[in-house]
């Protein structure tokens, strides 16, 4: 049965589906934490600054980079989904798969710019 799955899941639109779904899940888990941290500002700038100092740790910084890339990926894959569902297809067999690789490259580019700004 192993090969029953494999060939069905080694194509770009499957990758786009998984990427969109997993990035969305991780962002949904992260958001409440993000909001709670910003809520620290209620206790004054010092409380927020103490957390921001923690966020300078390399591992936290790396996670932050990941989140930025995830957000960009979810945005770009999401735009593809909206295009698929709202506009006419160029032809009936073309699920705009040509957008998938450029979307990944663009998301990574956002990540590179983010790194360059550090």
């Amino acid at each position: 049965m192993a090969n029953n799955r494999q060939s069905m899941r080694t194509h770009k639109s499957y990758f786009a589906f998984v990427g969109h779904r997993v990035s969305g899940l991780l962002l949904a888990l992260f958001l409440p934490i993000h909001f709670l941290v910003l809520g620290l500002a209620l206790e004054g700038a010092d409380a927020l600054n103490r957390f921001l100092a923690f966020s300078e740790l390399p591992l936290v910084k790396a996670a932050e980079w990941g989140l930025v890339v995830l957000l960009a990926i979810h945005l770009l894959f999401g735009i593809r989904v909206l295009m698929l569902e709202l506009t006419d297809w160029p032809n009936s067999a073309d699920g705009r798969t040509a957008w998938i690789i450029p979307s990944v490259i663009a998301a990574l580019l956002v990540g590179v710019i983010f790194l360059a700004q550090l």
């Binding site: 779904r21 709670l36 910003l38 927020l48 960009a72 999401g78 909206l82 569902e85 710019i113 983010f114």
Partner: protein, 109 residues
């Protein structure tokens, strides 16, 4: 109108709102980290600004609609949880996002 169709429409319309919001947010993240992330910097931008207040409230509302519907689909498809349990989890997630999100907006503006 079925519940499923309502949720589908809500998720797509919130996505259309979120797309420009996320673009602005990404641009902001990149600009802000260049100067180093400090509470003073964030608060000086957002404190007392009606524009940022409206933007972030809309952002939080859109994401509160968008994300739990997506999580609901994932849980229904990829777990054995019953539909009722999934609905409760996603409603809780929505309430959590809404409350922490609005609290964060009030904290920084």
């Amino acid at each position: 109108m079925t519940v499923v169709r309502g949720l589908f429409i809500a998720q797509r319309y919130s996505a259309m709102l979120l797309a420009p919001f996320v673009l602005i947010h990404l641009a902001l993240i990149i600009i802000v980290v260049r100067n180093g992330l400090t509470a003073e910097e964030i608060l000086s931008r957002t404190n007392g600004s009606t524009l940022w207040f409206v933007f972030y409230v809309a952002f939080v509302l859109a994401v509160t609609v968008h994300a739990p519907i997506g999580v609901r689909n994932v849980l229904n498809e990829w777990t054995r949880l019953s539909g009722g349990v999934v609905n409760v989890i996603c409603l809780c997630l929505a309430l959590l996002m809404l409350s922490t999100g609005l609290r964060a907006v009030f904290a920084v503006t």
